[in-house]
């Protein structure tokens, strides 16, 4: 019975991870076509503040919790709380600015599409041609 429950749980998580395939998206004006994990982390935490000398990075965060957000933060290896603290610390040092907050993935896509230098994430299914996809996070290794 216990094993059955475990198998069921694993199946559900696997299904979730499959459905929660997340894409890192950016405004079309960013000068990069792809990102690796380290770059993504540096850019998203304002460790790097600009795409290049012309275009500053504008981080967009999903305000409410959800599968996409969870998968994204897991991929980064950082908690949402920690990420928020990092942003706050940057602000306290006068180096960064508050990320743009959106309330839904649809709004995220819109916001990234219209904001110069915007960097965000969204479920793979929500992508529109208005944004540039830099990285697809296929989370197969699931952690309960």
């Amino acid at each position: 019975m216990k094993n059955f429950k475990r198998i069921l749980l694993a199946l559900v998580l696997w299904a979730a991870s499959v459905s929660a395939q997340v894409a890192v998206i950016a405004n079309k004006d960013v000068p990069m076509d792809s990102l690796n994990k380290a770059q993504l982390r540096d850019f998203y935490s304002y460790e790097m503040k600009q795409w290049d000398k012309r275009v500053p990075i504008a981080v967009v965060d999903l305000k409410l919790p959800g599968e996409a957000k969870e998968a994204f933060y897991k991929f980064l290896g950082i908690t949402a709380s920690r990420m928020k603290s990092l942003w706050l610390k940057k602000m306290l040092m006068g180096e960064g600015s508050e990320p743009l907050a959106v309330k839904s993935e649809e709004e995220m896509v819109q916001k990234v599409a219209v904001t110069s230098g915007a960097l965000g994430f969204v479920s793979l299914s929500k992508i529109t041609p208005e944004v540039k996809t830099l990285l697809i996070i296929a989370q197969n290794e699931k952690e309960p």
Binding site: K63, K84, L88, M91
Partner: protein, 560 residues
């Protein structure tokens, strides 16, 4: 195969095995239960309490953050503002570290399925509110950056405060939950411990009972039989070989008992054989002693006969030498008497002539001489003297005859001899001892001459008679009786002497046994006698008691 038939080792093994199984089951049971207790305690000690600590730390840090934010907002100068900003960064780090520590503890607890739904709910509520609080901090920083002081303070005392109080409440709930769960765990652990202790006590009691039973069994199967064996061995050691042990087990004790039985049986056999051998040995020994006794007698007799042979020769010589002169005397006394009668007749005739012829005056001088010499007495005295000589000669002749009779010792080989005459000759030898003191009463039956060693037989009689005379202190009697039934001659010599004790009677025939003072007796007499009678294939018996005299009865087979 019953328990009784098991070897001792198997019995012990079985007993110890049962005890071991009991102890092992008690141990396994309690170790399992203790594992459960340990799990509970570990859960409390390594997860719940650390979580509670982390939560407490979180509560403190968030409170610090709240104060810090107020101070940051109210900071008068750039320097203190920067200090508060640095502190806020540190506090945020600390809070995140605590959150991450809690998350890792939570993940482990989830893996162990030891994370309660209530705690999960409270924590996720806190998580959301905390994120909201950080959002409000963004707003705060934004307002302060825009120098909207009053709005910033309004935010701090309004929305931010509300969120803070909310998640503080959540943290309080979390602490309470972890405490309650810890309490419950401790109680469960205690419950398990108590029930385990109960079961263990029961198992211990059972183990003790089984051990006692096992010890009793050991006693029953080892100690009791060994004690029986020991007492049986003791009995055997005291010489009772009839002991047999009942064998009712197949173990070593049983084997021992069987071996013991075999041993006693062998011992019995051996002892019987030994006793038989001892009896044979005894018989042989008796035979040997008898032979030796005969040998000694023979030796003694040899010595004695040698001695007596010499004595006999001497006696014979003396007898012969005395015989001639005594013959002169005996044969001359008669003629001398006759001659003296003739001489006195002549003298008497002289007196008649003197008286008839009145020649008294002429022979006055003769008469005077006669008176002077007491002639009448003289004549009478000559008669008496002659009678004395005659008597002496007769007695001397008699002695010589006795000596010659006795000295038949030196005669070689057996001769026909008259036993009664032999007895008389021996009595003659003893005449001076008996004299008037002892009366000899003879009761002879006449019978034919016996083929014998007459000298030796006489010596045997002499020894007995001599002892008889010596046994009679003062006056007494000796009865000598002979009889003949056609085959056996019986000679009985009985005295009225002092008699002898049974001890003395048993030993009188032993050589050199004597009751006389040293130097008075050789202790050979009766043993020689015994030997002599044996030489004649005869028998000698003695009947005596102290104060009742002694009787020797000699029986001799008549051979011709």
């Amino acid at each position: 195969m019953s328990f009784r038939n098991l070897k001792l080792g198997a019995k012990q093994l079985l007993g110890f095995g049962v005890i071991l199984v009991l102890m092992a089951s008690a141990n396994i049971f309690s170790s399992n239960r203790m594992k459960a207790v340990k799990t509970e305690i570990d859960e409390v000690a390594q997860s719940r309490l650390p979580r509670a600590l982390v939560i407490a730390e979180l509560k403190r840090s968030t409170l610090d953050l709240r104060i810090n934010q107020l101070q940051y907002a109210l900071a008068a100068d750039a320097f203190s503002k920067q200090a508060q900003a640095d502190l806020m960064g540190d506090l945020l780090d600390r809070i995140n570290k605590n959150i991450e520590a809690y998350d890792s503890l939570k993940t482990e607890a989830l893996n162990r399925q030891a994370y309660s739904a209530a705690e999960a709910r409270a924590y996720s509520a806190f998580g959301e509110k905390w994120l909201n609080y950080q959002d409000s901090t963004f707003a705060l920083l934004r307002l302060l950056r825009a120098n909207k002081m009053s709005e910033a303070l309004a935010l701090l005392n309004g929305e931010a405060r509300q969120v803070f109080e909310d998640f503080s409440a959540d943290l309080g709930a979390l602490v309470e939950i972890t405490q309650k769960d810890s309490q419950a765990g401790a109680e469960r652990a205690e419950g398990v411990y108590l029930s385990t202790r109960g079961v263990n006590t029961t198992l211990l009691a059972v183990t003790i009972i089984v051990s006692v039973l096992f010890a009793a069994g050991l006693t029953r199967f080892i100690v009791v039989p060994v004690r029986l064996l020991a007492s049986a061995a003791d009995t055997v050691a005291r010489g009772n070989l009839t002991v047999q042990l009942g064998v009712n087990s197949e173990d070593e004790i049983g084997q021992l008992a069987r071996s013991f039985n075999q041993m006693t049986a062998s011992l019995r056999e051996a002892r019987a054989r030994m006793e038989q051998q001892a009896a044979e040995l005894q018989a042989n020994n008796t035979e040997l002693q008898r032979t030796m006794h005969r040998l000694q007698q023979t030796q003694t007799q040899l010595v004695q006969s040698e001695k007596m042979a010499s004595l006999g020769q001497l006696t014979a010589g003396i007898a012969h030498e005395i015989n001639n002169p005594i013959n002169f005397m005996a044969s001359n006394v008669g003629p001398l008497k006759r001659d003296l009668v003739d001489l006195f007749a002549v003298l008497s005739q002289y007196e008649n002539v003197v008286r008839d012829h009145k020649l008294q005056t002429v022979f006055a001088e003769v008469e005077t001489l006669k008176r002077q010499l007491d002639y009448g007495f003289l004549v009478e005295e000559i008669d008496k003297l002659l009678e004395g000589i005659e008597e002496g000669a007769r007695r001397t002749t008699e002695i010589v005859r006795g000596l010659r009779n006795f000295s038949r010792l030196d005669e070689e080989g057996q001769k026909l001899a008259n036993v009664n005459q032999g007895l008389d000759a021996t009595l003659l030898m003893l005449k001076h001892q008996l004299k008037n003191r002892i009366e000899v009463i003879r009761d002879y039956q006449s019978f034919p001459d016996l083929l014998c060693y007459p000298g030796k037989l006489n010596q045997a009689f002499l020894n007995i008679l001599s002892n008889a005379s010596q046994a009679i202190k003062g006056e007494g009697k000796i009865f000598i009786k002979t009889s003949y039934d056609g085959e056996i001659v019986t000679v009985s010599i009985k005295d009225t002497g002092v008699g002898m004790s049974a001890e003395v009677k048993q030993r009188i025939f032993e050589p050199f046994f004597t009751t006389k003072d040293v130097g008075e007796g050789t202790g050979l007499g009766l043993s020689i006698t015994y030997g002599i009678i044996e030489d004649h294939d005869g028998n000698i018996e003695v009947y005596s008691a102290p104060g009742q005299g002694t009787e020797f009865v000699i029986t001799l087979p008549a051979r011709r």
